[in-house]
């Protein structure tokens, strides 16, 4: 039992099984170069975003504002670029502005949740509304065309995939190699113990939210570039997709558990899932059913696993001679 680690092999198996099923069901459509590219490009935005939101999930937080922050960032990029005339320089300034907006939004999330001890879901639930409003005001409820060459190139062909690889590698490096990455896992796994170990839990958390905001903005830029336009509805549904990708990828929404390769796997599977469902003419609106069930089952499983551990812990406390309660 100990030697067979299901979680190591389950992911490739699921992935292969998925590809095989789709190839058998829809061989002509699924196994074409065009489709492969379309799967990959649709994976790219989710992959970029999950590379950053994983930090928030790892510390046991959540972000319900992904969809509208994504739209807001894209609208900011488009608006700034338009105002500045659309030159390559203007595009750069626009992108920078969008990324700053994303990071600042994340900082605000992190600051409010940690300083006032307000649950992250509530803060991001409220800010999603703020971001939506801001995106609508800024775009005047119009679609802004994003056809500047320097902007459009970001979403062309394999460029989004390259971005995804860069973001994923950077995220992997930080999580796997740096001291900060170690701290992230420690904070998510046991904030009290982390604090006692001299880690500034508040600071680590705020940085995690900022990273998440930053990558969400990047995801928005890529999406706007792919669709050559930005509006306040650009990100619709992406909150769910990113969370589902993370959950599929084995990231525990209870914190402290999960890896970047897992998250990227989740993003790829999400792309395949979306692609497969659309090839089988299942409306994207109906696929929410599947995603929702996946989340419930995965988190219920996590919760059971955690309850199991805390039961063990309860036993240990009981037998301990210095059990603090009632002794």
């Amino acid at each position: 039992m100990k030697n067979i680690n299901w979680s190591t092999y389950s992911k490739p198996i699921i992935l292969v099984a998925f590809i095989v099923i789709l190839s058998v069901l829809k061989p002509a459509e699924f196994l074409s170069v065009g489709n492969a590219v379309s799967v990959l490009t649709s994976v790219a935005a989710i992959g970029i975003m999950v590379s950053g939101t994983i930090f928030v999930f790892l510390i046991g937080g959540i972000d319900l504002s992904i969809a509208t922050l994504l739209s807001l960032s894209a609208v900011v990029a488009a608006t700034v670029t338009t105002r500045m005339g659309g030159s390559t320089g203007a595009v750069l300034v626009g992108l920078l502005a969008a990324l700053v907006v994303g990071a600042v939004a994340g900082l605000v999330h992190g600051y409010i949740t940690t300083t006032f001890a307000i649950p992250a879901f509530l803060v991001t639930f409220a800010t999603q509304s703020v971001f939506l409003g801001l995106a609508q005001v800024l775009s005047n409820n119009n679609k802004i065309a994003c056809t500047w060459p320097a902007f459009a190139v970001l979403g062309k062909n394999v460029v989004p995939i390259i971005f995804m690889v860069i973001f994923a590698l950077a995220s992997w490096y930080v999580l796997r190699k740096t001291v900060f990455g170690r701290y992230v896992y420690a904070v998510g796994g046991n904030p009290t113990a982390a604090e006692i170990s001299g880690i500034n839990v508040k600071l680590v958390s705020i940085i995690c939210y900022a990273i998440s905001g930053f990558t969400t903005a990047m995801g928005g830029i890529i999406l706007a570039s792919q669709s050559q336009q930005a509006d306040s509805a650009l990100g619709s549904g992406f909150t769910n997709d990113v969370i589902t990708a993370a959950v599929i990828g084995g990231i525990s929404l209870l914190g402290g558990e999960g890896t970047l390769p897992g998250a990227i796997f989740g993003a790829v599977l999400m792309g395949l899932l979306n692609n497969g469902l659309s090839l089988m003419n299942v409306d994207s609106t109906q696929s929410g059913l599947v995603k929702g069930l996946v989340i419930v089952v995965a988190v219920a499983f996590d919760a059971m696993h955690h309850a199991d551990q805390s039961r063990k812990k309860a036993k240990k406390v009981k037998k301990g001679p210095a059990a603090p309660e009632l002794s």
Binding site: F116, L122, S129, Q136, L254, L289, G292, V296, M304
Partner: protein, 338 residues
């Protein structure tokens, strides 16, 4: 000096917020015919607040147990679509259709309760996921036209559509009456029954509630079930008013009842607040919507202001609670010295 009761204090704050907002819009958008501050418009505001207030009663129950329900918008659509199916494809009488609608709400609520209380899935994740599930189901069962496209379903049978109207005299809408009944019932259950007391106990401390012999799991599940039923009531009045339903009915609607509860002083940490507070909150939100429209402001500002208000209120509540806790601790220390 006798300290003012925390609950009373919070109630005064939310009433104050509502009055200030009304006064503000009365000043900015004017009084009299066709303006903000006149009878017709004020009734309109109450009418618009009714559905969020009805659902808000259920949400209040859930939040008092320290839970949350993000799936009410989708649930609303699912209930509407089930009723639409009955309306279009069967000859069942309208009352049966309404009863089935209520049952669908009840079942959805029970499912949410089961996932959250029995499977121990964190409330916001479980209900977020169910938001997707209910929406997906709605699209799957959506009434489609000959070429398979989802369309808006007319539900204008006179036995049904009248629920969206007023009766006896102009402005006395059925939905307002329903809201008043649900709010009063909700408040009575909360304050005058054991179940109500249990809700507060569970929200304040699950451990203490268990020690006092309260069935925590059952209490939580029932709170979600109540929410399901209030959502169904909301769905009935909403579709009756629109005389139609669509698959994307209630999109983003989960925001409004929660916002109403938060503004009305129902603390998300559980154990405090009541239905009257949520009603005040719902009136506040409806006034905001209406006033912004009256001022011909971009409707988008509503989203910004709503979100900002929620954040401001929860930060206020958090700071306020911290002060109370500190005071209790200090007093405990003083008592220890005697």
């Amino acid at each position: 000096m006798k300290r003012m009761n925390q609950t009373t204090m919070r109630r005064l704050i939310s009433i104050g917020m509502l009055l200030i907002l009304v006064a503000l819009f009365a000043g900015l958008a004017g009084t009299g015919e066709g303006k903000f501050f006149n009878e017709t418009n004020l009734i309109e505001i109450v009418r618009n607040a009714s559905i969020p207030a009805i659902i808000g009663v259920g949400i209040t129950f859930v939040i008092i147990t320290a839970g949350i329900d993000l799936s009410t918008g989708s649930m609303l659509a699912l209930v509407g679509m089930v009723m639409a199916n009955i309306y279009v494809y069967t000859l069942w009488p309208i009352p049966i259709m309404i009863i089935v609608g209520l049952l669908v709400g009840l079942v959805c609520g029970l499912v949410n309760g089961f996932i959250v209380a029995k499977l121990n899935v964190p409330e916001f994740i479980g209900t977020l996921a169910m938001m997707l599930v209910y929406r997906g189901l709605t699209y799957i069962i959506a009434v489609k036209n000959d070429i398979g496209a989802i369309e808006s379903v007319r539900m204008n049978h006179s036995q049904y559509a009248f629920l969206g109207e007023d009766f006896m005299f102009v402005g006395l809408y059925y939905v307002i009456i329903a809201m008043i009944i649900v709010v009063i019932l909700g408040q009575i259950v909360l304050k005058y029954t054991r179940f109500g007391t249990n809700l507060y106990s569970v929200g304040a401390s699950k451990k203490a509630a268990t020690l006092s012999g309260i069935d925590v799991m059952k209490t939580r599940i029932i709170a979600y079930a109540v929410t399901g039923v209030t959502v169904a009531i909301g769905a009935i009045f909403m579709t009756a008013k629109l005389q139609s339903t669509t698959a994307n009915l209630g999109t983003d609607f989960e925001f409004d009842p929660i916002a109403a509860a938060v503004v009305g002083g129902v603390a998300l940490s559980g154990g405090s607040g009541d239905v009257i507070g949520t009603l005040i909150g719902a009136l506040f939100m409806a006034t905001l919507d209406n006033g912004v429209k009256m001022l011909d402001m971009n409707a988008s500002y509503q989203y910004i202001v709503k979100g900002a208000i929620i954040i401001a209120v929860v930060i206020f509540d958090s700071l306020y609670k911290r002060r109370i806790d500190r005071r209790a601790k200090e007093e405990g220390a003083k008592e220890g010295l005697e």
